[in-house]
């Protein structure tokens, strides 16, 4: 029904109807109780608006057809009516109250982040997401504590820049490491950011929350169906704002436990691109990058390893002598310059403008030392 109605709305613009089959006209299918409430709120209000619109402009177009000089209509001279004016002030007010009531209930539900089963901290970086499964309350405490992963765009650069390359099915909405969550559990997401404001948004969950550097905000969802859900950063955060998707894989609880177990062991065996973030404390601000002594290894571990550790996005992998020899031959000054100014997929200073040139250079020297 709802889809039918949206199609009807779409036909208002004749051109739209031709493509209505291929493209979605309404909100994404809701997969959480909150998203369902949002969906029905939107439908309710949309329909009230459509009815009022048709009524008011039905009147207007009737007047345009009948009360025109060319058909000989003579102008009446009335210009006020207190009764009518009071009526059309009060009726909209009552309709608005009718809309506000269900909306208020949804707002209160959305804000209720208490008693989560699992807490995940999502940190926005220019331009990727970091997810940390933190110690919290609830039935899943301990299962995944301490798992931290970085989640970057997995779409190859040539799909973006080369029109001849076929784009994949999930073009721009695919990542290397998905956030994995169990179904039917209340997941609390804490958001923060490392540099500028980002926003964590998964449309099918009805969840959108700004990630603000130096502050922690929270939101929650409980997804009911296993599957892969895709969203994007929703706050302009610089040049690659359009290239930091969010992918959530919802799985059965057993599968989640197995994943967490495996991920924990894997994390011990080969150091994952760990993110240096302070322990979660919702009452204090997350510390910004503190100025310390120049330590190439520290910078490398905290930032560069995210890409160079695994060789992501074309970055030469640390320790890969083949990839590094030609680069080392360019001389340390050139390498440092490229790292400071950015080169190809690499943003300036690896995406952290708070770093000093000396810190970046030290990190480059550290990597060169490991790769000779």
């Amino acid at each position: 029904m709802k889809k039918l109605s949206l199609v009807a709305l779409a036909s208002a613009t004749a051109l739209c109807s031709g493509v209505a089959v291929a493209s979605r006209l309404g909100l994404q299918d809701p997969e959480t109780p909150i998203a369902r409430q949002i969906y029905s709120l939107h439908s309710l209000i949309l329909w009230i608006c459509v009815v009022i619109f048709v009524a008011v402009f039905g009147m207007m177009f009737y007047a345009i057809l009948k009360h025109r000089k060319s058909v000989g209509h003579k102008a009446a001279q009335f210009h006020e009516s207190t009764t009518v004016e009071i009526i059309w002030t009060i009726i909209p007010f009552v309709i608005l109250m009718g809309m506000a009531y269900p909306a208020t209930k949804t707002v209160i539900d959305m804000k209720d982040t208490s008693n989560p089963d699992l807490t995940i901290k999502a940190t926005g970086y220019q331009w990727k997401w970091g997810y940390e499964y933190v110690k919290g309350e609830g039935s899943l405490t301990g299962v995944s504590d301490g798992i931290a992963l970085l989640s970057s765009l997995a779409t190859p650069m040539d799909q973006i820049y080369d029109p001849k390359v076929q784009k994949g099915e999930n073009y721009l909405l695919e990542v290397d490491n998905e956030m994995v969550v169990p179904i039917n559990k209340k997941i609390r997401i804490l958001t923060t950011a490392n540099d500028v404001i980002h926003a964590f948004w998964v449309p099918a969950f009805g969840v959108k929350q700004d990630a603000i550097p130096g502050f922690i905000r929270d939101t929650w969802f409980k997804v009911e169906k296993a599957g892969i859900y895709r969203g994007q950063c929703a706050e302009l955060c610089g040049k690659e704002h359009g290239f930091m998707p969010i992918v959530v894989r919802a799985v059965e609880e057993d599968e989640f436990k197995a994943w967490a177990e495996k991920h924990k062991t894997a994390a011990v065996a080969e150091p994952a691109p760990a993110v240096q973030v302070a322990a979660v404390d919702t009452t204090t601000a997350a510390p910004a990058a503190a100025a310390g002594p120049v330590d190439g290894k520290k910078t490398y571990d905290g930032l560069c390893a995210a890409c160079h550790g695994m060789g992501i996005a074309g970055a030469p992998k640390t320790g890969d002598k083949g990839a590094w020899s030609a680069r080392i031959a360019q001389g340390p000054a050139t390498l440092a310059k490229h790292a400071i100014e950015g080169i190809r997929a690499m943003p300036a200073k690896g995406g952290n403008p708070a770093l000093s040139d000396a810190e970046v250079t030290a990190a480059v020297e550290h990597m060169v030392g490991l790769s000779k």
Binding site: A12, T13, V56, R68, L96, A103, L236, K239
Partner: protein, 528 residues
């Protein structure tokens, strides 16, 4: 331009002014200054429009074809800044300069020299904005809202934008002081406040809004400037500041700004609809009260732009209720306009077409605004193309269509010639159709989950983006029709009578010839 010269009127005897460029540099005549405002805003409209076409060209299909992502961000940012501060706002000030003295029977604006200064501040500000594309790092790409900390990261293009905003703010404040003083002190004898044409009323209220909020914007961008260069930490959590503070200050300016750009449009439409319905405006006093209510409410709704920053439930509810409340006075206005048309004797010359088009399409933007006011729905739609569709429905179909309507309505008075009705109607229908092709589909994109301000998108959004881009180029080209229509009208055409519109009854039509002489109402008319 010569059109403002009156050649056959008694008032013409003291018609002395320098010629050539010095006339325009030194003029204190409200008509000359109004003309300059209008041409300036048209130039900025075309510049901002070209940037928009750059955006739509890149979004024509998925993948990055034309621009690098950082340049794309510069395009969206500068498109917004130029259209808001360069095109829409100065255009309304241009109308105020031309029309307020004519409509209240005043000889000129109250502070004629300041009037000249407030216009001549604008070209340097525009040059700063345009020049910022050519400095190292390019123009600012932080979005027209210039949110910290992203704006702190930008190159020196950001500083140029900050200075441009400062200068344009100063210009707006001076313009507003002038408008308020003129309206309150220089009305013709007998013209009480409640006899003023509605356009004058809406500008009086708008001018107060401007004086209240432009300093707030100046404060916000000044804090950005000192955070960028002088080590302050207003918006830096590590130094005890708060990035969200910027948004509160910005939107305390930004929401009244929305009404600054639409209230004068309401005023223009409220002059035109009665004139072409040959019937007095329905509910004049409720129109005045509705305008004032909207202006007052506009100060307590700013945080509805910030529902996803994470505020307490009580905050979200307060701002949701207050925002929904604005639908009441706005509804009153729409009902009043329809009631004015009801049982009238309507004709549909270009000004009326644009006014009816305004009413129809602006109301759609009003309804999407109501949908966005509802916090849970807003959280889903914030920062998506739905919002882009919404504010273009109110700003393009609202403010811009009203500006077109007003231009066609008053061109005969300004130039002494009738415009070409054929060109005007062609302009209207092209604009109306291409506008909807461009922006209607953006509702679907936003609902389906396409974020705004992205240079590339996943393939599910490809069809509607292609339609929107085609519409945008059509809309852009349609504006050349407007240019041709206006230039033709200035150069000649059928001579306009003093009052070419049967139903127009304000002072400029009843007491002045067409074109309005260079100096008018040296002796104020008496209003009964």
């Amino acid at each position: 331009m010569e059109a403002v010269h009156g050649h056959d009127h008694a008032h013409d005897h003291d018609h002395h002014h320098p010629t050539g460029i010095t006339r325009w540099l030194t003029t204190t005549n409200h008509k000359d200054i109004g003309t300059m405002y209008l041409w300036f805003s048209f130039a900025m409209f075309i510049s901002g429009g070209l940037l928009a076409l750059g955006i739509r060209a890149e979004l024509f299909q998925p993948g990055l074809q034309l621009w690098r992502p950082e340049f794309f961000n510069q395009l969206t940012t500068m498109h917004g800044l130029m259209m808001v501060f360069g095109a829409i706002m100065p255009a309304f000030v241009g109308f105020a300069n031309w029309q307020i003295p004519l409509m209240i029977g005043a000889s000129d604006m109250a502070f004629a020299r300041m009037n000249n200064f407030s216009f001549w501040l604008l070209p340097p500000a525009a040059l700063l904005l345009i020049a910022s594309f050519f400095v190292p790092g390019g123009a600012t790409g932080a979005g027209w809202t210039l949110y910290a900390p992203l704006s702190i990261q930008q190159g020196m293009g950001m500083d140029l934008a900050i200075f441009a905003v400062h200068i344009m703010g100063a210009s707006s404040i001076m313009g507003s002081i002038n408008i308020i003083t003129t309206i309150l002190n220089m009305r013709a004898p007998g013209m009480t406040l409640m006899k003023m044409p509605l356009f004058v009323w809406t500008w009086l209220i708008t001018a107060y809004l401007l004086i209240a909020v432009m300093p707030v914007l100046a404060g916000a961008v000044t804090m950005l400037l000192t955070d960028r260069h002088f080590g302050t930490n207003f918006f830096n959590a590590a130094g005890g500041g708060d990035p969200v503070l910027y948004q509160h200050v910005f939107w305390f300016f930004g929401h009244p700004e929305v009404y600054i750009m639409i209230l004068p449009a309401f005023g223009i439409v409220s002059q035109i609809i009665p004139a072409f319905a040959r019937k007095p405006l329905f509910g004049y006093s409720s129109m005045v009260y509705a305008t004032a209510s909207i202006a007052i409410l506009s100060f307590i709704v700013w945080a509805h732009h910030m529902f996803v920053t994470g505020m307490p439930a009580a905050g979200q509810l307060f701002f949701m209720y207050a925002t929904m409340l604005i639908a009441v006075p706005t509804g009153v206005k729409v009902f009043n306009w329809v009631a004015t048309m009801w049982k009238g004797s309507m004709t549909f010359e270009t000004p009326m077409l644009f006014s009816v088009g305004f009413l129809f399409v602006f109301t759609m933007g009003g309804f999407t605004g109501l949908i966005l006011a509802v916090t849970p729905v807003d959280i889903q739609l914030q920062d998506t193309y739905y919002v882009v569709a919404h504010f273009h429905y109110v700003l393009v179909a609202g403010s811009l269509f009203a500006l077109f309507a007003g231009t066609y309505f008053w061109l005969p008075k300004w130039t002494g010639n009738m415009y070409s009705e054929t060109l005007g109607k062609l302009h209207f229908w092209c604009s109306m159709i291409f506008f909807n092709i461009t922006f209607f589909v953006m509702h679907f994109l936003g609902l389906a989950g396409m974020p705004r301000r992205i240079p590339d998108y996943s393939q599910q959004f490809a069809d509607f983006n292609m339609i929107a881009s085609i519409g945008a180029f059509g809309f852009g080209l349609s504006q050349l029709i407007f240019l041709v229509a206006v230039v033709k009208c200035i150069r000649g055409g059928e001579k306009a009578p003093a009052n070419p519109w049967e139903g127009a009854d304000t002072l400029e039509w009843t007491h002045l010839p067409s074109p309005a002489p260079y100096h008018s109402f040296e002796t104020p008319p008496v209003v009964k």
